[in-house]
């Protein structure tokens, strides 16, 4: 078991065109660091210089925006689904 991470189209050039990848870690931040270890350059695309999420990226754990949870500290466990979604849509 592991965490399923949905990759948005603009980042798929870094994941060998995979729409989902498996990740591991105890928190969202861990998962991002884990992704960076395997797909170099990915973290810089979704986080700014101070390792915080960029303004125009949203992350969801099992469909819930992590800003309603504990942000990047939000805990994750095996079987969870984590979605990385560009924020500018809709309206």
């Amino acid at each position: 078991m592991s965490i399923t991470i949905r990759i948005p189209a603009p980042l798929r050039s870094l994941t060998g065109n995979s729409q989902t990848v498996e990740g591991s870690g105890a928190s969202v931040r861990d998962c991002i660091d884990d992704l960076e270890g395997r797909f170099a350059g990915l973290k810089a695309r979704i986080c700014d210089d101070s390792s915080e999420l960029r303004r125009f990226i949203n992350i969801y754990v099992n469909g819930e925006d992590i800003r309603f949870l504990s942000g990047l500290q939000t805990p994750v466990k095996d079987g969870d689904e984590l979605s990385i979604v560009p924020a500018v849509a809709g309206g």
Partner: protein, 419 residues
Amino acid sequence: MSYAKALHCRECGREYPLQPSHVCEFCFGPLEVTYDYDAQRKAVSRRSIESGPLSLWRYRDLLPCDADRAVDLNAGFTPLLRARNLGEALGLSQLYIKNDCTNPTWSFKDRVVAVASTKALEFGFDTLACASTGNLANSVAAHASRAGIKAYVFVPSNLESGKLVGSAVYGATLVAVDGAYDDVNRLCSELADKYPWAFVNINVRPYYAEGSKTLAYEVAEQLGWRAPDHCIVPMASGSLLTKIGKGLDEMAKLWLLDSVQTKISGAQALGCSPIVTAWQAGTLNIRPVKPNTIAKSLAIGNPADGYYALKVIGDSGGSAVASDDDEIVDGIKLLAESEGIFAETAGGVVIAGLKRLVESGRVDRDELVVAFITGAGLKTQEAVVDKINKALHIAPTVASFEEAIAQRGGAIAGNQGTR
């Protein structure tokens, strides 16, 4: 022809060709259409616009699509009405209502969808889609029919029945999603990555959003080629407000207006007011909320353009204001009773917000104010059905009529004099 030049990332400035994409591949900032303003300035004049059709296509040279192949339901060029009665009630000497209830599907969304659907055909799509709080779904469904293509429209399942019927009637695939609009929107972002659809407010969003500029163009033209002093605009994602700002700025840039010093204020419902909350806190960081308001058309808890809306409000000297559900209903009734315009809940938000802004001195009583009424009230009857006078139910006799009037406690009105 269109004078659109490129897509430009509002954050990092990277440029992209005119293609169906909405975010910068590097920083995820929003992409916006830029134009060849020098060429536009040579081609566009007050006169060239005035000789155009009585629809938004009179501004064809300022839009990012080829109007010769427009998907055209005759959207736009809606009435701008001087509102003396409402102005008097609110204490404003020069109040105007921009009444976008009169669009083909009875909301301003016909403006954005006219542009988005035209652009979608240019890009070769045969299917439109959208995430919607209702009005957009109605418009996408209608324009797809007009264009002879398919549509999938996604809405929260708790919408008013008028908005559900107003989509399904066109034959679109109406998908009611268990969840709030923000859940619908996240789902649609994922679907947009998977299916070759023109999602009007996702992959075609840069073009779509430009349609809202026509509201600003029209207001300025209808005022006799002058900018208003103050605009009051409803905010959901915040996109409309930013495009009214952009539209006015462009008119100055193209020498269609002598000067633009318009304050732009935004109104939200208290039960979904993340932009107003950030404004009041003096921050550009918007915290999303879980909406709880009768103003379902504005119930976006995670507003995509909230950040830019805050900047437009701040730079223009405007303000942001939120009103509760009772005030919203009162706003709907006040507009209907004073001016004969039946607006949906978003219109109630605007009137209630304007009232608050006047009372708190943030709108000056002598300013030329334009209130943007963006959708029609028959779509959201649930909001007012229990708050208005019931019909007098009588037998077909004069006596029964007079008895019923007396029971309600009033004299029978009416007098014919010479005028």
